[in-house]
C-alpha cells in the first residue's frame, strides 16, 4: 500500500516534470514564433477579417470611418450582386474566366519547363552551369513592372517580335499582340471558318449573362502574350526550387537504377519525377496562388482596346476600389477579394487531392 502510494507519487512527479518540460518547450516554441506570428496576425489575418467585415457593408472607401454614418451593414448584398443577380455579374465571371484560362495556361507550362530546365542545369557535364542558372533566374528578380514595360516594347506592332516574324515570313500581317482581344480558341476555330453562327446553341445559351461561346473563347491574344510574360518571369523561381530538390536526391538511387540497366529516360521518369512529387505539389500551389492573384502585369499592359479581355479577378478588386472615380465601391471590392480568397483556397485543396499532395511529407 505504502509502496504503491510512493510509486504513484514518483509517477506523478515524473508526469509533472514531463508536463513542465512540455510547457517550457511550447513556451519556447511560441516565443520563437512570436515575431512571425505577430506579423502574420497584423498584416494578414487582421486585414482579412477587416476586409470580410467591410464586404458586408455599403462603405464606398472614401467616407471617413470616423463619421457616424460612414456605412451600414447590408448583409450578403454585395456578394449577391457580384455573383448572383447583379446587373453586372458578367464583370466578375468574365474576370474569373480570364483568370482561369491564365492559370490553366501558365501553371502547367511553367512547372514543366522549370523541371526540364532544373534537370538540365543540374547535369554535371554541363559547362557554364552557373551562367545558365543565373540567366534563367534573372527575370524572376527583375521588377515585374520593368519586365512588363520591356514586353510592351518587344510586342508592339513595330517591335522586335513582329520584326523577327516578318523577316522569317515576309507575308506575315503584323499582329498588335497587346491590343488584340480576340480569343485564341476562337481564332483557331476561325482557321476552319467556324464562328459563333456555326454553333447556335453555344451562341444563344448564356451562363451568368455570358454566352457559352464567349466562355469558350480561350484567353485573348493579349492575355496569351501576358501569359508568356508570366511564364518567362516565374520559371526561374520554380527552377531554383526544383534544383534544390534535385540535389537532395541521393546519387546512389540513380547508381542502383543504372546498374539495373535503366535508361536516362527511365531514371527521369521513375526516379526523378516521383521523388520530386512533394516539390511539384509546392511549385503548383505557388503557381496557382500567383496566377490567381495576377495584377501588376495587367496594370501595366491593359489599354483601352483590351479592357475586359485581360481583366483578372485581382485587377477587378482594384478597379472597384480605385478605378471608378465617380463611383468607388470598396464594399464590392472587398467582397470580390474575399471571393477570390475562397476560390484560391478551394483550388488549392482540390489540387492537393489531385496531385496527391496530402500524402506528401
Amino acid at each position: 500500500m505504502a509502496q504503491s502510494t510512493s510509486q504513484a507519487i514518483t509517477a506523478g512527479k515524473a508526469v509533472q516534470t514531463q508536463q513542465n518540460a512540455k510547457l517550457e518547450e511550447s513556451l519556447a516554441g511560441w516565443t520563437f514564433m512570436l515575431p512571425a506570428a505577430a506579423i502574420l496576425l497584423l498584416f494578414m489575418i487582421v486585414p482579412l477579417l477587416v476586409a470580410g467585415y467591410f464586404s458586408l457593408t455599403d462603405w464606398n472607401g472614401r467616407t471617413p470611418l470616423t463619421n457616424a454614418n460612414a456605412y451600414e451593414l447590408v448583409g450578403l448584398r454585395n456578394y449577391q450582386q457580384l455573383l448572383v443577380d447583379g446587373r453586372r455579374v458578367s464583370d466578375f465571371y468574365n474576370a474569373l474566366k480570364n483568370t482561369m484560362y491564365y492559370a490553366l495556361g501558365v501553371v502547367p507550362t511553367q512547372t514543366a519547363l522549370a523541371l526540364v530546365l532544373a534537370v538540365i542545369v543540374n547535369q554535371k557535364w554541363m559547362k557554364f552551369r552557373g551562367f545558365f542558372r543565373t540567366a534563367y533566374y534573372f527575370p524572376s528578380i527583375t521588377s515585374s513592372i520593368v519586365v512588363s514595360m520591356i514586353f510592351l516594347f518587344m510586342f508592339s506592332a513595330t517591335g522586335p517580335i513582329n520584326g523577327l516574324i516578318s523577316a522569317i515570313f515576309p507575308s506575315y500581317d503584323p499582329i498588335t499582340w497587346l491590343s488584340d482581344n480576340r480569343g485564341v480558341i476562337h481564332n483557331f476555330l476561325g482557321l476552319f471558318s467556324l464562328n459563333a453562327d456555326s454553333f447556335p446553341f453555344l451562341r444563344d445559351t448564356e451562363l451568368f449573362r455570358i454566352p457559352l461561346w464567349e466562355w469558350l473563347s480561350g484567353p485573348s491574344v493579349s492575355m496569351a502574350t501576358i501569359m508568356v510574360l508570366a511564364i518567362w518571369t516565374t520559371i526561374g523561381t520554380m527552377m531554383v526550387i526544383y534544383l534544390a530538390a534535385l540535389q537532395n536526391i541521393p546519387g546512389q538511387v540513380y547508381e542502383a537504377a543504372f546498374v539495373d540497366g535503366a535508361t536516362n529516360w527511365q531514371a527521369f521518369r521513375h526516379i526523378t519525377v516521383p521523388l520530386l512529387a512533394p516539390t511539384t505539389f509546392f511549385v503548383i500551389t505557388l503557381g496557382l496562388i500567383g496566377t490567381f492573384q495576377v495584377f501588376d502585369q495587367i496594370y501595366v499592359l491593359r489599354n483601352d482596346t483590351t479592357r475586359d479581355s485581360v481583366m483578372s479577378v485581382a485587377y477587378l478588386v482594384y478597379d472597384y476600389a480605385f478605378g471608378s472615380l465617380n463611383d468607388p465601391r470598396m464594399d464590392r471590392a472587398t467582397a470580390t477579394a474575399i471571393t477570390l480568397f475562397i476560390i484560391i483556397f478551394v483550388a488549392t485543396i482540390i489540387q492537393r487531392r489531385v496531385t496527391g499532395g496530402d500524402q506528401a511529407k
Binding site: 464606398n60 472607401g61 472614401r62 467616407t63 471617413p64 470611418l65 470616423t66 463619421n67 446587373r87 453586372r88 464583370d91 508592339s156 506592332a157 513595330t158 517591335g159 498588335t176 497587346l178 491590343s179 482581344n181 489599354n303 483601352d304 482596346t305 479592357r307 475586359d308 480605385f322 471608378s324 472615380l325 465617380n326 463611383d327 468607388p328 465601391r329 470598396m330
Partner: protein
C-alpha cells in the same frame, strides 16, 4: 487611488491647455496635397507654394506632391485624417461631396465671376453650391497634319466644318495612299475612349437626362454621335492608336505622322512640340454636329478645402487664403504664362495663355464656351462601365451603336429606379 486619478486629470488638463495656448500663438500648419504631373508643372506648383509662404509667414505649408495621389488621399480620407487643402479632379468631385469631405465655398471665392461658368458648375452640387475653385482646364479640339492634308488635296479644317467634312477628309487622306515608315496613313486616330467620342455626343444634343429627368442616353442624336465616331474605325478610314504603328495614344500616332487627324486636348501641344518638332500640324475646333451646334469636353481640376478645416476658423481662413492665392487672377495669369499645357480657369487669363501658346491655342479657348465636363452622377459606375465596354464593342464591330447605347441606357434606368 483617488490622488493618482486627480494627478492624471490635472496632467491631461495641463497638456490640453498648453496645446491650446501653443496653437493660439504658433503659426497655422496646412497640409497641402496634390497629384504629380509633368516636371515643369510640379516645379511651377512648388514655386506657387514658395511665393505664398513668403507672403504669409504665419502659415506653414506641409506640401506633398505625389505620383500616386488618388490612392494615397483615399486612404487618408478613410482614416478620417486628411489634408486641409488638396486638389480634386472633376470625376472625383461628386463622391467627395457625397462623402462630406469638402468645405462649401460660400462666398469666399475671390472674383468668382471671372471663372468660366462651365468649370465652376463642374465643382458645384445639384443645388448650385460651389465647393472648390477650378485651377485650370483642358478642352478637346481637332489636330490635323498639314502635310497630309496637302498631299490628299483637302482644304485644312475650319471652324465651320461639319461632321461630313471630317469624314470626307479622313476618306481622302486614306485614299491618298500616303506611307510613313512603311505604315499606311489613315484619316483619323480615334481612341476607343468615352472621353473622346462624347464630345460629339454633347455637340449633337446627347444627354444622360432630359429636362423631365428621364434617361435619354440612347436617343437618336446620341446614337448618331457614336455611329459617326466609330465609323472612322469600322470603315477603315481611321484606327485606334494601337493599330497605328502600335502607338500608345492618339498624340503618339498623330505625332509619328500615321494619322491625318486626331481629337485630343491641349496637353498634346507641348508633347508634339517637344517630341515631334518637325511635324507640320495645326488645330481647329471640332466640327459642327448635324444638330447645328458645337460641343467639346472639358477636363478640369480644382483646389479644395477639407471639411475638417471648417472646425477651426483660423485653419479655415488660412486654407481659403491659400486656395484663393493659388486660383486668383494673378496666379491664373502666371499659369497662362507658363504655357505647359492646361489653360487657366479664369477668362481674364486666357490672353496670357494664348500669348504663350500661339495660334494653336485658339480652338481650345474657344471650346470653353460650349464645353461639357463629362461627369455622371454618383452611383452610376455600372453605367459608365457599360459605356466603356460598349465603346470598345462598337469600335471593334462587335456591336452596333444603337444596341450598345440602348444597353447602357437600360442600366442607367435601372440605377435611377433603384434611387
Amino acid at each position: 487611488m483617488r490622488n493618482v486619478r486627480f494627478v492624471l486629470v490635472l496632467a491631461v488638463l495641463l497638456v490640453a491647455v498648453s496645446i491650446g495656448v501653443a496653437s493660439a500663438q504658433d503659426p497655422v500648419t496646412l497640409r497641402v496635397w496634390s497629384g504629380a504631373s509633368s516636371p515643369v508643372e510640379n516645379e511651377f506648383k512648388e514655386a506657387q507654394f514658395a511665393a505664398f509662404q513668403e507672403a504669409n509667414p504665419n502659415i506653414v505649408l506641409d506640401v506633398l506632391i505625389s505620383p500616386d495621389y488618388g490612392t494615397q488621399i483615399q486612404a487618408a480620407f478613410a482614416a478620417g485624417d486628411y489634408p486641409e487643402v488638396f486638389t480634386v479632379g472633376q470625376f472625383d468631385f461628386p463622391s467627395y461631396v457625397d462623402s462630406g469631405l469638402l468645405m462649401p465655398a460660400g462666398d469666399r471665392i475671390v472674383d468668382a465671376d471671372d471663372i468660366y461658368p462651365s468649370l465652376q458648375s463642374a465643382f458645384s452640387d445639384a443645388d448650385g453650391n460651389a465647393y472648390c475653385v477650378p485651377k485650370d482646364f483642358s478642352t478637346l479640339a481637332l489636330y490635323y497634319n498639314i502635310d497630309h492634308f496637302e498631299a490628299a488635296g483637302v482644304e485644312a479644317p475650319t471652324a465651320d466644318w461639319t461632321w461630313d467634312d471630317m469624314t470626307a477628309a479622313a476618306q481622302a487622306i486614306t485614299d491618298a495612299g500616303i506611307v510613313v515608315n512603311d505604315i499606311p496613313v489613315l484619316g483619323l486616330s480615334a481612341a476607343a475612349d468615352r472621353n473622346r467620342w462624347m464630345a460629339f455626343f454633347w455637340a449633337n444634343g446627347g444627354r444622360l437626362f432630359n429636362d423631365a429627368d428621364e434617361i435619354v442616353f440612347d436617343s437618336e442624336e446620341a446614337v448618331a454621335s457614336l455611329d459617326f465616331y466609330a465609323n472612322f474605325v469600322t470603315s477603315g478610314i481611321g484606327a485606334v492608336p494601337a493599330d497605328l504603328g502600335g502607338a500608345g495614344w492618339n498624340g503618339e500616332a498623330f505625332g509619328r505622322g500615321y494619322a491625318g487627324m486626331t481629337v485630343e486636348g491641349n496637353w498634346a501641344i507641348g508633347y508634339l512640340n517637344n517630341d515631334f518638332p518637325d511635324l507640320n500640324w495645326g488645330v481647329a475646333e471640332l466640327p459642327t454636329a448635324p444638330s447645328g451646334n458645337k460641343g467639346t469636353l472639358t477636363f478640369t481640376e480644382c483646389w479644395a478645402v477639407s471639411s475638417l478645416s471648417a472646425e477651426d476658423p483660423a485653419v479655415a481662413d488660412a486654407a481659403w487664403a491659400l486656395v484663393n492665392f493659388l486660383t486668383g487672377p494673378e496666379q491664373a495669369a502666371a499659369t497662362g504664362d507658363q504655357g505647359f499645357g492646361p489653360m487657366p480657369a479664369r477668362a481674364s487669363a486666357a490672353d496670357s495663355w494664348l500669348t504663350a501658346q500661339g495660334d494653336a491655342g485658339m480652338p481650345f479657348v474657344a471650346g470653353a464656351d460650349y464645353a461639357w465636363a463629362p461627369v455622371f452622377p454618383i452611383g452610376y459606375g455600372d453605367f459608365t462601365t457599360a459605356v466603356d465596354e460598349g465603346t470598345v464593342d462598337v469600335m471593334t464591330g462587335a456591336a452596333t451603336a444603337a444596341d450598345a447605347m440602348a444597353e447602357a441606357g437600360e442600366i442607367a434606368r435601372e440605377i435611377q429606379a433603384e434611387g
